[in-house]
Amino acid sequence: MLNKLSFFKASQHDSWVKPFLKHYKKTLWLAIFLGVLTFICAGGLMFTSGYLITKSATPPENILLVYVPIVLTRAFGIFRPLLHYLERLTSHNWVFKMTSEFRRKMYDALERDAVFFNNKYRLGDILGLLSEDVAHIQNLYLRTLFPYFTVCGLYVFIIVGLGVISPLFALWMLVLYGLLIFALPLWSVIVNGARQEYEKQIKNALYLDLTDNVLGVSDWIFSERANDYLKRHEENEAKLLTTQEKMRKFERRRDLVGQFIFLAIVVSLIIWASGRFGGTETDSINWIAAFVLCVFPLADAFMPLPTAAQETNVYLDSIKRLNALPHPEEERKKAPAVTAPYELQVKDLVYAYADGHHNVLNRINLKIKPGEKLAILGRSGSGKSTLASLLRGDLAPTAGSVTLNEIKTTEFGDDIAKYIGVIHQTPYLFNTTVVNNVRIGNEAASDEEVWDVLERVGLKKLIKKLPQGLETMVDEAGLRFSGGERHRLALARILLKDAPIIILDEPTVGLDPITERALVKTFMDVLQDKTLIWITHHLQGVEHVDQIVFIEDGQIELQGTPKQLADNKRYQKLKQVDGGY
């Protein structure tokens, strides 16, 4: 039965929700304990109040006889809100602690494929999903798991408590409360679960469809077909609304059933209490009101459960998605070390994607001598960027080899950063100060060293002019700086790192020719004494390099020094177009 519920199925092989429950166990128990106590106080308040009033009506000979209930009433009245407050603080604190661990785990999982992160996952998607997933898991703990644990504690307390007084009645309550705690939520999950699944699907589809068409809004407007789309959207939306209506309808009825069960509990209590305590002249008659009244505040604990249980369906995707993330990488063995001079060699390199359809790169041979400047040209999709990843060892060749001083680049692990630096199309600037961004290259660099590299990349003046200088915050995703300036900052970073080999992966795409030219010149100037591998699809500035390689369809099509190629027809033509002739 339980296996039919997708939530339980998903949690069987879960490594993201369950393990964290074991973390900080003490705090978790404390939160649950406080939660149970809160409700006991709430019930206790009405219990003692009921007792106090009926006892007072006897009336007692003097006030001292009701002294204990008076004190208890006040105590429960004060402790209920206090415990509730503490319980909420404790549980939130626990969830946030868990979130920290959670983020770290998530980061580690993604770090494995760091270099391909931006290609593999569509950035917006994954970030949106990840932050949503974190929020979902937080909600799962706060709104479903904790309340359930608390209610189970309360359930045990009620049943055991009543069991001591009257086992038979306790059994009856076991059934009635059981209906509220287990049967009703289960029914809710089963009936509305499928609808919720469907709702989610339509919602996602609507999301994708709307995004797609808002992005293409100018085409809708120019083609004067906007109404076609609006009509289509309305039809899809109607499906969503019908499903939602059905769900709400069920929920309203389910809540009514819950209230009926609750009424049954109250009436049972009246009947039981009158039988157990009534019809006598003794003090015990005062317990009737106490027992009946104390049940009302407890409704707050039980009534939200079906909704809470039903919500697990919403979190399901998050749990699945998180469990699908790769497991964090094991520590690598010690990386080899090599010393100058550095020589990269590519031998019979073949690379094919996992699906193995065709070779992205086919039998590439290259020898890059220390200090050499190499330009790799080719259309987009010709395999240039794949070659860069292979050079750095982020990808392993399907056949052949890429070696740095005779050692395969894949064997260096993260240490490859010491030897090979990369500037790619859209260098990422972190949302911190300018100086922190530059210091990513070398965290121990002094302010002078930072200024020095900034001067070399031609940014010193600009940064000096900023009111906060080096401490200026780079706005989110580096938007404060223009395209050219961002590349210069990235270059400053690389200079601080001082790796002997630099890969420039199409660093000037989309820049206008003049900015491009200035940037290329800076690159060439400051990287003069380094080995340079420059991937580009423009010929702007290409005459500065020692060697040019044209890649087409995964193969080297043309190779030579700029001088050697100068007579080549194709080279001439492209060169001419790039010059605007």
Binding site: K97, Y107, D219, P513
Partner: protein, 574 residues
Amino acid sequence: MVDKLLFKLAGIRQIMVKLAGLSFLQALLIIGQALFLSATLTDLWLGKPLRSQVFNICAFSVCFILRQGIDLIDAKLLDNYARQSAKEMRKRLLEKIFILGPGVVQTQGTGNLVTLTLDGIFQVENYIKLLLSKMMSMAIVPVLILLVTFWMDITSGVIMLLVYPLIVLFMVILGFAAKAKADRQFSTFQRLSNHFIDSLRGIDTLKYFGLSKRYSKSVYRSSENFRKTTMQTLRVAMLSTFALDFFTTLSIAVLAVFLGLRLIDQQMSLFYGLSILILAPEYFLPIRNFANDYHATLNGKNSFHAIAKIIHAPLPQAPEVELTSWQATDGFKAEQIGFSYDEQNGIAPVSFAVKGYQKVGIIGMSGSGKTTLINLLSGFYTPDSGEFTVQGHKLPNLDLADWRKQVLYIPQSPYVFSDTLRNNIAFYTPDVSDEEIYEAIKVVGLERLVAELPEGLDTKIGSGKRALSGGQAQRIALARAFLDKKRKVMIFDEPTAHLDIETELELKEKMMPLMQDRLVFFATHRLHWMHQMDYILVMDEGKLVESGTYSELLAKNGYFCKLLSEMRGDTDAK
């Protein structure tokens, strides 16, 4: 607290009257329920047998059930009303977006607009629901309960009456305190919460520097800092719930003790005492519900206002003239056209005149104002000053259907819909035959793509399905242009900026024939296109610095020549 916008919703008055009636009934049933329960308990306490209580218990049950029934009707009414209002609102919002077009998309952001249209409106739906129901029960139920309490016992009534404003006062004070604290921490808050996303976005950079593994600790650390600051704020923020809880439970406790003392003094009957005790929690229930949901409704309120702002945004005044299909003899003139986004960005007044099937190049560096000019020509922006003259009609802007009908607008990255290749190509001309589509495919050089697609024309393409390269997307846009022969004006916005040079050349070959017999505006920073242009506008820092034919500009030896030489400077130096 009370939202004026809410009262502008259609049918709000009727629903409020209905809800008020229901709340009134509900209050009566709550009181009835309490009185019958109290009567039962009192009689049992007096030693009467259970049998004599059948009527009281039944009456209590009936009140209880009816109350829940009214709750259900209330919820149903609200569900339906909120859903209808939300649906209506979504419709109006979408219509507006698809009229305002790229302008509103650009300022609001695609993601934001989509979220607003879907989630935003769901939040609004929730907001309407919660606010209406909670407001009504808060306004009616406590008042009736209070009246009954006063009737039973004046002192208890006074206690209950006094506590109420006290609760509200403390909630307001603590609410402000929490807000102040939250505001103070907001900047650190933001930075910390962004840190995680920031680390992920830059994760490849970190890896390139060999720092990515170490950053894991930093992610944890900053998340922990985040937790600490959040908890500090929560400690204050949760105090307002605490205050609410505290005053309600304490006042129940005080009432109980007080009632007990009165009973000992035999100043009131047990029936009244119990009734008041049972009613007290019900008296506080509406405000507790309201406070619990208050935060949940805040998002809804914000979305509601954001949506209303878009829906009520004024529409640009479309000029009322009739334009005919563009012909070789027609003239187009821009006189002193100016536009500014803010004080620094925009274009200074621009004037030029072109006619017939001229090809007009617009050249300049990034940020020179090319795109702004294109957006004015395509009608996305309304100029701040100046006017256009098209076919002899004077027009303050080009945002009119008669102009759009003949324009083919091709941006840097033409949008490819998540749809079949056929629908994408025939987007502007849904009725064309397959033969025509195949012809278009041949003309723009998409045969290789079609051959690669498993289901040919019926293969779904677009993001998430089968993403196309920049060159392929451009070819699709060109195919659309080829099929739509009625449109005689082409507007290009840097169509080749992201393409590699060989693809660019191939495309150029395909593009040039399509520009025949059309008025063309072509913005680019790639100079080689200028040879094919009949007239060139040279932009620099938002100004039109030069205009003329290629040879005229060469002869002038001005900024255009400077652009040329700066680009080639590199080559010449060698």
